[in-house]
Each structure stands twice: as structure tokens, then as C-alpha cells.
Subunit: 291 residues, 5 copies
């Protein structure tokens, strides 16, 4: 995720560059053909063009709203993971009477979730937080994050029996694990369910079509400055389309992805610091990007 305006501008500009060059090239071709070999059939009237603009506006409006909502829901669910991991750490101490190995195992949870959401290899840090048994059990299952919650549930049970803890307290701690399961399920839902194909493909196709037809419609009135006017408009619509596409997959590796590593480190810090342990240092932003 980009957090610095300065870098953000240059990243956006680099994204815009290729379509800008292609668009300007096409605009020049049109304007030269029109001005030199004046072709009457190129004189396009404005009506169908503005209707096309309306259809495009509805498509882009719905798609970009939905894409932003997915991105923000993804961020909110990661926030819920953060909150519940912290509450688990607090409750292990205040309700169960303290169990550092449980808090440490929970610190591994966001790392496991992160790697399964982004289809990456599990982070090396996980091995330092889980004991050998838990590690091999968790990664033998199809869904390691869910398996860790299962394992944590069993460990809580052992503690409850060992220390003769009240059932209501046990239920309260287990509620946190259920809330984590809900947040995790929500994140997997966003990853597994792409935006309907109509909303992810059609705005893209219609935007390209629109940019191709744009100079044909503008060349009559704009004449030789068509490439300037037409490419400004074209780039604007390309950027609208692109901002929707960037947000619709919030876990894919891109400059606009959610900062899952930073969130995981925050959770680790908030779980380990009260135990007096030293967590891994926060990642440093590079070129305005938080990983």
C-alpha cells in the first residue's frame, strides 16, 4: 500500500504511461488521416458517443464502488483479526491465568493467514513462534490457519481442565476463536470470489473501445489539437478503470495491496511485548510503499 503522496504520484504516472503513449499515437494517426486525406465518414456525431459515455459511467460507477467496498472490507477484516488476536492475548492472561506459549502461537496466526491469502510460501517467522508438533500438524492440513485455531482450541481446553477453570470463562475465550474464524472466513471469501466477470471485464473493454472512438468524434471540432484534448480525456477514463481494477484484488502482490506484513508484525508486537519478549522489527516502507 502506498502511504506517501510523493511516491504515489510517480507510481501512478508510471502506470499511466503505456496507455498514454498508445492513445496519443492513435490520436495522431486519426488527426493526420482526417486533416490530410479528409474522410467524410470519419465525422462522427456526438449522440451515440454520449450514450456510450452514459453506459460506461454506469459500468465504472458500479464496478469502482464494488471494488472499493471489497478492498475496505478486506482491510476491516484484517482489523478484526488484529483486535481478536490482541483480545486473545489479554484473555489468556486475565481469564486463563497466563500461558506464554499460547500467546506466541497466536502471534503466528496472522503470518499463516497472510501466506495462504497471497499463495506464498509460509513465512520463516512462523517456525520460531510455533513448537514443532503444532507446526507439522498445522501444515499437514488443507487450511493451516483453520488448523491452528483448532489446535489453539485444544490447548485452551487442556489449560481449562488443568487449572479447573469455570465453563463460562472457557466459553468467553472460545468466542474469540470463533470471531477469528469469522474474520478468516471473510478474507477467504474475498480472495475466492472475484468480482462477477461482467463487472471485471466489461468496464475494461468498453473503456478501450471508448478511447479508440474518442478522437474520431473530437477531430472535427478540435482539429490539430485533437491529440492533446483526446488523450487527456482518454487517460482520465483509463485511470478510472485502472483504480477499480487495482482495488478489486486486495491480496495480490501490487503497489495497492493491503499491508499484510505490517499488520502481522503489529499483532506480533502487541502479543509479545506484555510478556517481556522482543518481537521482530516493523518492516521499513520503501519508496512510499508499506509491505
Amino acid at each position: 500500500m502506498i502511504i506517501k503522496r510523493r511516491y504515489g504520484f510517480s507510481i501512478l504516472f508510471r502506470e499511466i504511461l503505456p496507455p498514454l503513449i498508445i492513445l496519443t499515437g492513435w490520436d495522431c494517426v486519426v488527426v493526420i488521416l482526417f486533416q490530410i486525406f479528409h474522410q467524410e465518414w470519419m465525422e462522427q456525431p456526438a449522440l451515440p458517443f454520449s450514450l456510450m459515455g452514459s453506459a460506461l459511467a454506469i459500468f465504472l460507477g458500479i464496478r469502482n464502488n464494488a471494488a472499493y467496498a471489497r478492498w475496505w472490507e478486506g482491510r476491516t477484516l484484517w482489523g478484526s483479526v488484529t483486535n481478536n488476536c490482541r483480545s486473545f492475548g489479554r484473555e489468556v492472561d486475565s481469564l486463563l491465568g497466563g500461558a506464554p506459549e499460547l500467546a506466541r502461537a497466536m502471534a503466528a496466526y496472522p503470518y499463516i493467514l497472510k501466506s495462504s491469502l497471497s499463495n506464498n510460501e509460509p513465512d520463516a517467522v512462523i517456525r520460531t513462534l510455533l513448537d514443532e508438533d503444532t507446526y507439522s500438524f498445522v501444515f499437514s492440513c488443507g487450511n493451516p490457519a483453520n488448523a491452528l485455531l483448532y489446535k489453539l482450541g485444544q490447548s485452551v481446553r487442556h489449560l481449562v481442565i488443568e487449572r479447573n477453570i469455570d465453563g463460562a470463562v472457557h466459553g468467553t475465550v472460545d468466542r474469540i476463536l470463533s470471531d477469528l474464524a469469522n474474520a478468516q472466513g471473510g478474507l477467504e471469501r474475498i480472495r475466492n470470489t472475484p468480482l462477477p466477470i461482467q463487472y471485471s471485464m466489461l468496464p475494461n473493454i468498453v473503456t478501450h473501445l471508448f478511447c479508440i472512438l474518442l478522437p474520431l468524434s473530437a477531430v472535427q471540432t478540435l482539429g490539430w489539437i485533437t491529440p492533446l484534448g483526446s488523450s487527456i480525456i482518454g487517460v482520465l477514463f483509463q485511470m478510472l478503470d485502472r483504480s477499480g481494477r487495482n482495488l478489486q484484488e486486495p491480496f495480490r502482490d501490487s503497489p495497492h495491496a493491503l499491508p499484510m506484513l505490517t499488520i502481522s508484525r503489529t499483532i506480533e508486537r502487541d502479543l509479545l511485548q506484555p510478556l517481556g519478549e522482543t518481537p521482530h522489527p516493523m518492516p521499513t516502507p520503501r519508496f512510499g510503499r508499506v509491505p
Copy 2:
């Protein structure tokens, strides 16, 4: 549900083909009639046409937003079924002290729900997960999924009495069943309550009317290239209308339906793997479609 862009394009194209052919045919008829037997009454001014476009935009905007919201709510509720089934599996182990037959019965729940939502025969897999008694009781009721939750409630009760488990723990486990009842009720609500007839029929009718009148309005200025311009616009609005209609019934068998079989298999896997049992394999996507 379509998850591959490549197949998605060909599926969308095949859906678009019939209206495209009809529209182009009609456009050609209009342009020929106009250019050859020039009929003055065919010269339609732009005003009523752009007003019609506004009305259509409001209709399509509200309808498509509502249809997308239904589809995404359906997906979210299936996500809630997933989360609560997993949590039930964890709690059976950590709160009730383990009961494989309960986890196995819960694995049948999504299959039963799936078949009642899509009005299909119950999946063969259900018989392998439920014992004979439960199977016949469940399918003797008008709402088998609800009957299974009822039965699971009774089994939990027997366990609680047998193993002398605390009331608060019992309440915590029962909360998961209530959450499942809530998700199930939400899914049935979406299936039983179609979008109001005004929003499901009128956009469709108005879009057709719009496409019929389109060439009449465009032929004056576009002349012989009317069929090209008019059919591009017409197909765009047809696709807008169709993307709304596709999403408004998320459980009906279509390329855009929710992947209920895949979700059921995921739940089965996450419930059976921690018990050391082998779940059914995940379905393979065919032509970019996840069933």
C-alpha cells in the same frame, strides 16, 4: 461461477451474440428504409430519446446495485455457514471433548442446504455422512437443513448430560447452531424473495424499447454506418441489463451462480481433516467455471 478471464470472455460473448444479431438486423432494416424510401417521420429528435436514456439509467442503476447486493449477501451468508461449521467442529473437540459423529453430521449440513436452495435432489454424499436414523428423520421434514440443526441440538444435549458439561459451555455451543440458523434463514430469504417485479421486469422491457428506437434516432446523422454505431450502443445496454439479471438469482443453475459445491467440499475438508479422515476431493473447474 466463472473465475478465469479467458473463458469468461467467450461465455459473455456467447450470451451477447443473439441480441447482437437481432439488433444489427433491425438496424440494417431501418437504415435501408431511411436511405432508400426516405421517410420524413422517421427523423426523431434527440430530446425524448435522452429523457428515455435518463429513466433507463435510473432503473438500471437501482436494479444492478440491488442485484449485486443480493449476490454478495448470498456469498457472505455462505461464508457465514462455512465459518460456523468450522467453529462447530472446533468446539465439539475443545468444549465438548470430541465427538467425531457430530463433526461428520455437520459436514452434511452444507450439502443439504445446497440442494434445498437449488431445488435439486439431495447429494449422494449426504448418505455417507449421516447415520440412517438422522437421514430418515431429516428428510421426513419440510425443511431438512433446519431438521438437521434440531437433531444436532439434541445430540449435543445428550453429550452434555452424559459427560456432565457446564451449562455455560452448552450455551456457547448452542450459539453456533443459532448462528447457522440465522445464515440459513438469510439464504432462504434471498431465494424466496425475488427482486420486486418492477425492478426485475421494467429495466428489461425499457432496454428492449430503447434498442428498437435507437437506430431511428441515429440514422439521420450516422447514415450508412448506423448499424455499427447503433449496435455497439445497443449491445452495451443489453449487457448492462443482463449483468443485473444474471446476479439477481444467485442460486439458480447458471455460469454466474455461487460455487455452492466447492464451498460444501471446503467445509467437509475442514471438518474431517482434523479427525484424520479423508474428505471427498475438491471439484475441478471446467472451462473456467467453478461449480
Copy 3:
């Protein structure tokens, strides 16, 4: 609620007919006056008309969105009634150890709620589900549905004392009654709080004004075919206005009302079937309408 497209079309058409006839009549008057006694002052320019269209679009957009949200919230709250009645039935059996008379009394709850929401006489079916005492207590109160919840709370208390049930279990069952009170309160809120008068009256008035002025603006360019063009546009806007008005009162007796009888019957069935009792049969849809 209309669930069949075929009937839906004819119901919509019958609703549209009166305004269509009046509009066409007025359009004919305008066109005849204009073409025969050509009155110059009737030539209205397009600008104020398109501004009026913008204002109307904002009004209709906000109102129709709000009306649809009310309708869907009403449906969702009835869904919540369904879910919690079912969960109450399950918990009476699994947490309290079974009490058929409580499940039967709960089956009367949706019928009581339905009649108070639609200001009808209490359904005859209620008397068959409640015992004499409860019936007379409930209907002596100003809010019978709330009184039934109160009574059910007392019956649960007696059961808890009699069978020496744990306090946490008692709390879990009582939570369901609180959730029902929340859903009921939400339904009463929608019934008692109409859409603000500005949003329910102004779109209606502005739509009529718009339809009256429409032929004046169109007659110059459309000439003799004004009645056709103008009445198509007019009917579209009338239908937009009407679809909002139809949804804004989801409990009033109309073809678009929520199917409260069907929902009540479903709840009764899901509560009585597991007890081995026979519920009342589901109502049959007539002319595509579910009551």
C-alpha cells in the same frame, strides 16, 4: 408479493393503464392545439425542462433507494423472526429438555405480529395454538406480540425452576427472546415511521408536473407523433415513481406487500413438525401472488 413474471406483467400493465390513458389524452389535446391553432407561447425551450429532469432524477433516485431499503429491511427482519422462532424451538428441546406447549405458543407469535402490523383482526389460527389464559392475557395488552414474549419468558422461568436448569442456559434461551424483541421493534419502526413527507409526496407531485409539461416541450420537434413519444416517456417516469411508492409501505395490503402469511405458515411448520404435529397447509399462490 408477486413471484410469477407472467402475472407480474399483467398486474404492472393494469397499474399503468389509467395514467397512460390520461397522459395520451392530454398529449393529443396539446398536439391538436399546437398544430391547428398554432400558439407560439407553447414553444418551450429545452433548458428548464432538462433542469427539471435533473431535480426529478435526484428526488426519484433518493426516494426509490430509500423505499427499496425499507422493503428489504422489512423482509430481513421477518427473516430474523423466522430464524429466532426456529432457534427457540430447537433450544426448548435441546437446552430445556422439551416443552411442546412452548413451541406451540411460539408458533402463534408470527400470526400475532402479522395482524398487528397490518392492522387486521387476529388470525383464527392463534386460538388453536395458545391456551385460553395466555390468549386472554395477550390480547388484553396494548401490544399483544410483546405480551406473548413476556408470557413466554415467564413460562421459561417456571421450567428453569421446576427442572433446576443452569443460569447460563436460562440466559441463552432468554437471548432468543431479546433477539425476537429486536426484530419486532424493527418491524414496528418501519410501520410507524413513514418515509419523510418530502420524499413520499414531492416525487409524486414533480412527476405529474413533468408529465403535464412534457408534450409542450416535445410538440415542436415531434409534431403529430408527439402522443406516442411523449406518453412512452411519461409512462416510464410514472412507473419509476410508482415502483418507489409500492415498496415504501411493505405491510399494507397490496400486490407488492411482503408475504407475511406464507412466512408465518413456514415458521409454524418448522416448529410443529419436529414435535410430530401437523401444521396448517401452506397458502396457494393465486394469479402469481403469494399472500
Copy 4:
């Protein structure tokens, strides 16, 4: 809150009258100046005017949506107060074994909340529902409604100790008080946080500017009938602006305010009737307004 259409119309008309008169006056001045002392600089082209209309539409759209959302959230939170007060009444009886003085004290809660939200003197009815001690403690605090919840919490504690009630039951009853605190906090949030000044002031200013410039733009084409056309449009936009402003402060004394007295009476009735006591009668609507 206005609930009768008939009165609603006359209230709206009276609100519209002053701007209508001023607008028409200004329109007449413009048309006379233009037609008699034809000033060329008054001929305003349409482009900047339609751009201004777009900016105004965005402002009014966002503001009116936000204002309606505030109003409906306020109503929903009052609904939540209603539900939780009722549930408290039920639980005092079914979970704590009955305590009429607690139900009576709770019946005072909505009256206290109402007067603090609308900055009025506390209602006389409060003194009849609270005992002397509670009354003086509650009104000695900066936030009387919060103080009453605090006091009720203490009374519940005494009951729990006296009657030796289970901790889980105590927790369930206390949950209702927390839910009331949440609803109360939400209502105070709406009262204390006005809509951002940009959204509450700018639409108002821009609407006035728009109405002043409107006849200048219309007079060229509309001529002598400018006052008619221009004031219809102007009043429409004034009403759009006003409907947003009316809803944005849902607790201020106005015909559009939430019916807080009626809601308080309903709560009182539903709490006192099951105890066999007679609540205060419901207020009668006057001129279609529910207080």
C-alpha cells in the same frame, strides 16, 4: 413527525411559500429589465450554468443522502431503546423474579433521554416513575440518562445478592443495560456531531446562487413566461435543499422531528401494562403531526 398526507401537503406548501414569493419577484425584475431595457450582457449561455447544476447535484446528492441516513439512524437507535427497555422489563420478571420498581424506573429512562436530547426541561412524568432518591441522584449528574443506567445496575446487583441469583443470569440482564448505553451513545453522537459544515452550508449557498442566476439564463428563450418556468425550477431545488436540512437535525423541535414523546409513551405502556398498572395515555396527533 408528519404522518398524514393531507396536512403534510399544507405544511410543505407553507414552507415553500416565502422562497416562492421572493423567487417570483426576482424573476419578474429580470424579465422586465430584459424585455424593456434589453441588456445584452444578460444573455447568459447555457454551458457554465449546466456545469453549476452538476456541482449542485453532487452536493445535494451527498448531503441529502447523509441527512436521511442520520435521520433513519436516529430512528433506528430509538427503536433499539424501545426494544431493550421492553426486554429489560421481561427479564426483570423472568430472570430476576419480578421487581415492579425496576420496571417503573426503566419507564422513566426514555423521558430522561428525550429531554436531554432536545435540551428541554425534564418531563413531569419522570417524578411519578422514580423514587425521590433516584430522582435527585440522577439529576445531580452531568448525564442523567447515563446516571439512571448506573443506578439501575446497582439495583440489579442488590436483587442478585438478595435473591442469590446466578452470575450468568446477572450477566444477561447487565447486557441489556450495555445495549441501552450503546443506543444512548449513538443518539448523543448524532446530536453532538452536526453534518460537516461544508455539507450543511455549501448546498444552501449554491442553491441560492443557482436560483438567482436561473432567470438570467432562461430569459432569452422563455421571454415573458420566464417567471413561471424559472420559479418552478427554483422552488424544486429549494425544496431539495430544504428536505435535506430538515432531516439533518432529527431531535430539534420541527414538524419533521422524530416522535420522541410517542415512543416514550409506548415504552412506558409496554413496561407498565404487564404489571397491571395504567400508563399515561398516548399523545393525540394534531394537524397530522405526531409529537
Copy 5:
């Protein structure tokens, strides 16, 4: 946050002044160049300009809606902090039997949260509310607000053991701490996750571009009064852009920031008054601004 209209107007006007001066200057340059050295290439047609306006409207619409939603979500989460702090105060008394030092420590929580959200030095008031040990532990951690919740959890545990309090009651009190952790996590999420760079930068850039091109498009028809018309429109769009930017960072020090000091004082008052202690006085609004 500005709560007085009068001051609000002058603050808004001062914000608008710089762009207004620059815009008017540029408009004058354009009109002079055009009228005196009539340059034909400056005659810009309206089409590309109105397309640019559509793109800008979509950008501003989505961005301003998202910014307002962030601001209101921030306010709602602070509301949730208020409610849960109050409920904690009540429960310390009614569920745990009273512990003034816990209520006092909780009164420090909003101050700690406020300073970490706005990156300020911790408020001096915190030292007066926390004992020395808690103070040094809390500020030795990376996230002091979270550390305070952890510490409070431990203190509750000691009380529970000391006074032999039921596990269910302990769970109920701990639930409040979890709800506070959820609200705190939500606030940190809003602070740490800026609006996607596309939505925070592009509307700004496009608005500037739009304002630069505006007089070129208007000068043909407006002539010498271009600066008036063009700068009114320009300022409107600048204000739309600015109102979005103002709201998107609700914790940054600005006239539009959330009144976090006032909220913290309110919480302190509602926690300390029932204990008979005197809280710090509420801050006085200066120039219509609540800090």
C-alpha cells in the same frame, strides 16, 4: 470540529480565498489574451470538456462518499469507545462490587488513545488518573492504549479472585474490554490506512486541470464576464474537492477534525461523577470550533 454556522462560514471562506484569487487571475489572463490578441486555437468546443466533467463527477462522487464514510465511521467508533467506557464504569460497580481505581484508570484510556491517534505527546491528565506503575508499564509498550486494556484485564482478574466472583460475571466484564479493543482497532485502521492513492490524488489533479481549462471553454460565449462565471464554477469544484480531502483524515489537526478532547472529557466526567469525584472541566469552544 466546527459547530457554529457563523464561524463555519468565515473558516470556509478563508479556505476558498487562495484558489479563488489564483483562478480569477488566470481567468483574466485568458479573457484578455482572447479578446485582444484573438487566438483561434483557444476556441475550445464543449464536447471534450463535458466528458472531462463526467469523469471528474465520478471521481469526486466516489471519493467524497468514501471520505465522509471514513469520517463518520471514525466518529461512530469514538462513540463506541464512549459507550463501552461508561458500561465498564457501571459494571465495575454493579458486577464487581466497586473499584474506584479501575474506573479512574479507564478514564485515562480515551486520553491515551487520542494522543496515539494524533501522534501527540500524552496528555498531562493521564498522569493524574493512573498510578505510577501502570503509567510506566503502559508507556513502555509500543501500543500504550492496548497495554492499558491488558493491565485492566489483569486488575479485573485480581478483583475476581480476591472477591470470589463468578466466572460468567468475569466473562461479561471482559467482553467490554474486547469491545473496546475492537473500537480501538477500528480507529487505528482508519488512521493507518489512507484512502487509496488514486482516490486521494487524482480528484485533486483533475480538479486543477479542469479549472485551468474552464476559461478556455467559456471565453467564446461569455466574453468579458468570463472571470465571473468561470471562477464561480471553478470555486464550486475546488470546494467539492476540498470537502472530501478535509474529511478523509479525521484525526489530523484541522478545523474539521473529530472533537477528541471533548469526547475524552465527557468519558472522564461520566466515569468519575458517580464516584463523587470532580472531573476536569469541558473545553470551551473557540471561534465555533470544538477541540
